[in-house]
């Protein structure tokens, strides 16, 4: 039982990365009906920006300009990096997606992939092939609750990701901009005629998605401090799987599917040899999609897809 609970805790942490990244895919999809394939690499960029920001803040405190405790540095790192990374997302949209808004969706997918490669390579050129570690801003504290080991980092990661998901939900439900997003995902043709600034809303969507990815990147850096330029590739594709599994364009679905993917991967690794993890996890996904071909919360497939 303790092992089960322990793995449950681990999979909550693992799933929260997927969930946060999948949210970005889902938001863009709900408006533009396409997946931003550069999103995994934006997660990577976010993690690196996080490293840069935290080192900067650490340098400021050690030189005595700022006098703030480490936990505040962490909070500021998350916020500043989210803010900065949202601009990366907006630039990606401006360069790669806006010129292709009326092109076939597959062409936009290719630009996304290529921007991803450029981001990876750009990182490699700027920082070299060495691996960079995230500075440890908080001490790991371990709590033993009946044989289940919780660390403060794990609790923080799950809490922050849930908090961000809730905030996003509130933003989309309560604010004017959120309403514009919902309206545009409902009808892409008529809503711009009602005076909704299409480009701004789309840029904002990319920005928010990228900010969430940056948060995921920093949380990932806290849990697994070694970063490399290709860390976004596999994570991005897996979160993409989660986004679709949840039903395209569904925020709730993406979050649930992200956690579900985390659970599946961790529990498969618990029961079977860990080399079988991908095999079994993806077979399960294949099975789910065979019986629910449109994901958990997606609309059923119609022949009238916008292509």
């Amino acid at each position: 039982m303790a092992i089960f609970l322990q793995n449950l805790v681990n999979s909550l942490q693992w799933g929260s990365f997927y969930a946060l990244i999948a949210l970005g895919y889902s938001m863009v999809y709900s408006i533009l009906m396409l997946f931003n394939f550069a999103h995994g690499d934006i997660f990577m960029v976010g993690a690196y920006i996080g490293v840069g920001v935290s080192f900067g803040l650490l340098a400021l405190t050690s030189s005595g300009i700022l006098a703030i405790p480490n936990w505040l540095i962490l909070v500021m790192t998350i916020l500043i990096s989210m803010f900065l990374t949202s601009f990366v997302g907006m630039i990606v949209e401006r360069v790669g997606y806006r010129p292709l808004r009326n092109a076939p969706r597959a062409s936009a997918a290719i630009t996304g992939l290529m921007i991803g490669i450029i981001l990876e390579t750009g990182n490699l050129i700027l920082l070299g092939a060495r691996r960079i570690s995230f500075p440890s801003l908080i001490e790991t504290a371990t709590y033993d609750i009946g044989g289940v080991f919780l660390t403060n980092k794990k609790i923080m990661i799950v809490a922050v990701s849930l908090l961000l998901t809730l905030a996003l939900h509130q933003f989309i439900r309560r604010t004017k901009w959120g309403m514009a997003m919902r309206a545009m995902s409902f009808d892409f043709v008529a809503v711009p005629l009602m005076g909704v600034p299409v480009n701004k809303v789309i840029a904002l969507t990319f920005g928010i998605g990228s900010a969430l990815a940056a948060a995921a990147g920093i949380l990932f850096g806290i849990a697994y401090p070694v970063l490399d330029p290709y860390m976004g590739v596999l994570f991005g594709w897996k979160a993409f799987v989660a986004a679709i599994l949840g039903g395209r364009g569904s925020i709730l679905g993406a979050t649930l599917a992200g956690f579900l993917l985390g659970f599946t991967e961790i529990f498969v690794a618990m029961i079977f040899p860990s080399t079988l993890r991908d095999l079994i996890a993806y077979s399960i996904i294949l099975l789910i999609l065979t019986f629910r071909p449109h994901g958990f919360f997606g609309e059923p497939y119609s022949a009238q897809l916008r292509l």
Partner: protein
């Protein structure tokens, strides 16, 4: 022709009279000249040796040598091709006219033979060229087969590296197990002499295995398409990779090596021709047109008596078969495969080739595969910056030609090989 015509117009008119046969003769002349005079000329213009890929690699490595490399390319390739092409144009036109009256197979074989001879001579200069050529031809097969699914059928399939892996491993197991490694099947090895005869069987087995694997993607495609199919195919890719990593029989993640060296340039060329020929015929057949109908509107196609299930099934299985064959060849060209080869990176590469060259077009696939793989090799001296330039190029192509360079164009052998009428009406 009036004398007032500008010189460039005259030149263009002269070039427009050259049939494909003439160009092939020109290329042949160029490679023959390079073979016999290349080294002298290269030394003459101050290059250390014959530039491997049209001098681009030399230009990038030593910018000072740009004019020399340029001069070399001009003298060895552009000049002979142009001169011989124009000079033999009347003769070539007559020959082409005579050939085209024969059954279409004859002129096609003649042209292909000429092309192959030039390619062979070109590749003889260095092993590097031979390797690049073989990989390029395999890329053509892969791109073309992916174009069947993504271009002609309009799905977004991500499973191609998976099909390729199935083909590569199946063919490798057959050849290594029967001819190289006694321990694999526990039977006596077959004599080496049988190898070249069994190699096609091994490749076909790989293709068939890939086609069987494609059922996993084809069957769900009856009920869903677009993004969900993309995910199913992506999951298939991950699963194939994971299965291979866990099979100790094929040495898991360490990869398989020791494939016999049977995939020479002629073999790869023959298979590529076969692939282009069958796929070209397939996409122009009723079944191929049915795929286009499904892509444009599945409901309407169904109403117009298109058997959508059968069409999709055949399309997927056919494309996967050729991807498997290409994978088998790939394994025997590199003589080493490991599961890591067939990942997201490979997927991005093949997708890039398809969308760069052009959807729904055999020409496009050839253009895309050749240009991306040649570019990839030629820009090698730039090292990591290569991966900035190629993606940027692709983004530009996508922005200005969203369906690719040569999209929606039929490949018709007869119109391609026909003699060119001059502007004055003379053949």
């Amino acid at each position: 022709m009036p004398d007032t015509m500008p010189k460039t117009g005259k030149l263009r008119a002269a070039f427009s009279r050259v049939p494909l046969l003439g160009w092939l003769l020109g290329i042949l002349a160029a490679v023959v000249i390079e073979k016999y005079l290349g080294t002298d000329l290269a030394l003459g213009v101050g290059l250390p040796k014959i530039p491997a890929l049209f001098g681009i690699d030399i230009m990038l490595k030593k910018p000072l040598l740009v004019p020399n490399a340029f001069l070399y390319t001009l003298l060895i390739y552009a000049l002979p091709v142009g001169v011989v092409g124009v000079a033999t144009a009347p003769l070539a036109n007559r020959a082409a006219a005579a050939l085209i009256r024969l059954p279409i197979t004859v002129p096609v074989i003649v042209h292909l033979a000429l092309f192959y001879v030039s390619m062979h001579l070109w590749a003889e200069v260095s092993d590097y060229r031979a390797l690049v050529l073989r990989l390029t031809l395999i890329a053509v097969m892969l791109t073309l087969s992916l174009n069947v699914i993504n271009g002609y059928m309009g799905e977004f399939s991500c499973s191609h590296p998976g099909f390729m892996a199935l083909g590569a491993y199946c063919a490798s197991v057959v050849t290594v197990g029967l001819f190289v490694d006694k321990g694999m099947f526990g039977i006596d090895l077959l004599p080496e002499g049988m190898g070249p005869f069994l190699f096609p069987v091994a490749l076909l087995a790989g293709g068939v295995l890939a086609a069987v694997g494609a059922l996993v993607v084809a069957v769900p495609s009856f009920r869903t398409r677009g993004d969900y199919l993309a995910i199913i195919s992506l999951a298939f890719l991950f699963i194939v990779k994971s299965v291979i990593e866990n099979l100790e029989f094929v040495r898991g993640p360490r990869g398989m090596s020791g494939q016999p060296d049977w995939a020479g340039l002629p073999t790869v060329f023959l298979w590529t021709v076969l692939c282009v020929w069958t796929i070209n015929n397939y996409v122009r057949s009723t079944l191929g047109k049915a795929m286009n109908a499904i892509r444009d509107n599945e409901l309407a196609a169904d109403a117009m008596t298109v058997d959508t299930r059968r069409t999709k099934m055949v399309g997927f299985l056919f494309a996967a078969f050729w991807a498997g064959v290409a994978g088998g060849l790939f394994a025997h060209v590199l003589r080493y495969v490991n599961p890591g080869t067939f990942g997201i990176q490979q997927l991005a590469e093949v997708l890039a080739m398809v969308y760069f060259g052009g959807l729904n077009s055999v020409y496009g696939s050839i253009v895309g595969a050749v240009s991306i793989s040649m570019l990839g090799e030629a820009l090698r001296p730039l090292e990591i910056f290569k991966w900035i330039i190629i993606p940027l190029l692709l983004i530009l192509v996508m922005i200005y030609r969203p369906t690719g360079l040569v999209a929606f164009k039929d490949l018709d052998a007869e119109s391609l090989l026909r003699p060119k009428q001059g502007p004055d009406g003379g053949a």
